[in-house]
């Protein structure tokens, strides 16, 4: 069974979202996703300053058997990509909700409120139907 922290929000495409104190949000991929991919060999994160739309592919996580796009859960502007992942992509496997964050972004006005993010319980339901 994969880990689904209760205090985060989620997307159907297996990203998690954490609101940070300063109004920005932090985004990563879930424990289920990292497990399905296997050992990550490469992660590409977006540059700071880039504007993204909701559901826009803006990062790539690559293992030996798969390479997946990561989608921006809400519209906004990227404030940072995790600089550690270039040298240590495996951190996403070992700590997907902590040190393995992929990017931080400043939501566009109203984007966070309008976003149809899933609660932990709803995301767990998604996993249960998928058989994760």
């Amino acid at each position: 069974m994969s880990n689904v922290p209760a205090d985060l929000s989620y997307t159907k495409s297996h990203e998690w979202v954490r609101t940070l104190g300063d109004g920005t949000v932090e985004v990563g991929i879930t424990d289920h996703a990292q497990h399905a991919l296997g050992d990550l060999v490469f992660v590409e994160v977006p540059d700071a300053g880039r504007t993204v739309k909701a559901d826009e592919a803006c990062a790539v996580v690559e293992s030996v058997k798969a390479a997946s796009d990561v989608y921006a859960p809400i519209a906004g502007q990227i404030t940072a990509g995790n600089p550690r992942l270039a040298a240590e992509p495996e951190v996403v496997n070992t700590d997907p909700y902590g040190e393995g964050w992929l990017m931080r972004l400043k939501p566009a006005a109203g984007a966070l409120a309008a976003a149809a993010l899933l609660s932990a319980a709803d995301y767990q339901k998604v996993l249960d139907t998928e058989g994760g």
């Binding site: 690559e62 293992s63 030996v64 058997k65 390479a67 796009d69």
Partner: protein, 457 residues
């Protein structure tokens, strides 16, 4: 039978095990109306002796003719060991090395090939080959579009001095993905891409510039100036090079201040016979920074579970079997056997042998040009240095001259009329280390005879 070993006893036993009466029953899921009665259009079988005889007759009728043709395919001496080893069953009938532990021979060979091509081109990393030089050039254009984050235009500058077939293949391959190829003219006297021709692109958003060295005319481009011009504007440089020439000429990795970004070319000169145009192989090399944008297979060295060194396909997540619609390319098969031959060839020749081959090819071409331009009515088309082929201009149409030479057992070169009509009666000639002074003299004599008689108006 079609190499089928089964006896009647085998078939009976197998049918019994399956539980059907006849082989025909195994096709009962196929709608009967789809079944073919007989293959009209396929002749009766021949046995090996008969097909051997037929092929020998056909080969004999084609014969072997003294040839001074280049234009993208070059005749070089191929050491006997190259194909003796390449056609060993263990190389010839092996598959793509997906099960790495059962394919260490092929995988290590690819690693050695990648290493040699990186060194030959002066680049940091090479892939395991592409279909041919033309398709490698097309793939380089697509790769440049992916790799050049700064540029959004997908406009690629293509000199007219790049092989005409390569330009056509690039368009056929990449036009459907929104890549726009823009032709850059060459200097009429010089036969190379001049800085003036690039002036109109000074401030345009261009993704990449292609530079051929030597170019299709055999002429040497000013690769440093072209490379620096492109890099100053954030334009990637795609080098299209001849691998034999790369032994003598400055390789793409050393062009300009920063080196070319992607190097491609036709690998046929490295131990692959002319064989009416194929199979050949394309090579591709680039900077480590772009390795994830490079299509095709790549082999990496790693360790096994006991800590021993071994080789495996790597970075496969870029490829079609994993990334599917988002793959860097749809390439699956490459040209493994030819790459094997090239690796053995390069090992046998080594640096000195390859340098000497290039040098001798150049020397023979110079000798050829000197001999032919002594014939009245023949002159060189361009001023400036060339390498192992060049363009001559005749005082009359080329086609009948070539026909006359052909009847004397000589293939004199390529008539450029259909490709570059602006060059008039132009002939692209090439001599490699396989030509002797006697061969050149024979050509000179036959050409003299062909040009005697009424001069063209």
């Amino acid at each position: 039978m079609a190499f089928i070993p089964h006896t009647e006893a085998d078939v009976a036993a197998m049918l019994a095990a399956i539980g059907v009466a006849r082989i025909e029953d195994l096709f009962d899921e196929i709608p009967p109306e789809l079944r073919v009665k007989s293959l009209v259009g396929v002749p009766e079988a021949l046995n090996e002796m008969e097909i051997g005889r037929l092929m020998a007759e056909r080969a004999r009728s084609d014969g072997i003719t003294l040839s001074f043709l280049g234009a993208g395919a070059y005749e070089h001496h191929i050491p006997a060991a190259v194909w003796a080893i390449t056609t060993r069953g263990e190389f010839y009938s092996a598959y793509t090395p997906y099960q790495a532990e059962a394919s260490q021979g092929t995988l290590q060979l690819i690693y050695e090939f990648q290493s040699m091509m990186a060194r030959l081109t002066g680049m940091e990393v090479a892939n395991a080959s592409m279909y041919d030089g033309a398709s490698a050039t097309a793939e380089a254009a697509l790769m440049a579009v992916r790799a050049n984050r700064r540029s959004k235009s997908a406009r690629i500058l293509v000199p007219l001095t790049l092989h005409p077939h390569y330009r056509r293949v690039a368009v056929t391959t990449a036009a459907n993905q929104g890549v726009k190829f823009e032709e850059v003219p060459y200097g009429a006297q010089e036969g190379v891409t001049l800085p003036e021709a690039l002036a109109r692109y000074e401030t345009e958003d261009i993704t990449a510039l292609m530079v051929a060295q030597p170019n299709f005319f055999g002429r040497l481009e000013d690769v440093d100036a072209l490379t620096d011009w492109a890099h100053a504007r954030g334009i990637l440089v795609i080098a299209v090079v001849n691998p034999t020439a790369a032994a003598l000429l400055k390789p793409p990795g050393e062009w300009g201040a920063r080196g070319a970004d992607i190097a491609v070319g036709e690998g046929q000169p490295l131990g692959v016979p002319l064989s009416s145009g194929g199979p050949y192989f394309g090579f591709m090399a680039t900077r480590m920074e772009y390795v994830r944008q490079m299509p095709g297979r790549i082999v990496g060295r790693t360790l096994d579970a006991a800590g021993k060194e071994g080789f495996t396909l790597t970075l496969q997540a870029r490829e079609q079997h994993i990334r599917r619609a988002k793959a860097t390319s749809n390439i699956c098969t490459n040209q493994g056997l030819l790459m094997t031959a090239a690796t053995i060839y390069l090992s046998l020749l080594g640096p000195q042998g390859l340098v000497r081959t290039a040098a001798m090819a150049h020397a023979r071409t110079r000798e050829l040009v000197a001999a032919l331009t002594r014939v009245p009515g023949v002159r060189t088309a361009f001023n400036g240095p060339y390498f192992h082929e060049t363009v001559l201009q005749l005082d009359r149409p080329v086609a009948p001259v070539l026909k006359a030479l052909g009847s004397r057992g000589i293939l004199g070169g390529l008539d450029l009329g259909t490709y570059y009509p602006e060059l008039g009666n132009a002939l692209l000639v090439c001599a490699t280390e396989t030509k002797t002074s006697a061969d050149i003299d024979r050509y000179r004599g036959a050409l003299t005879d062909a040009l005697q008689g009424a001069r063209a108006a």
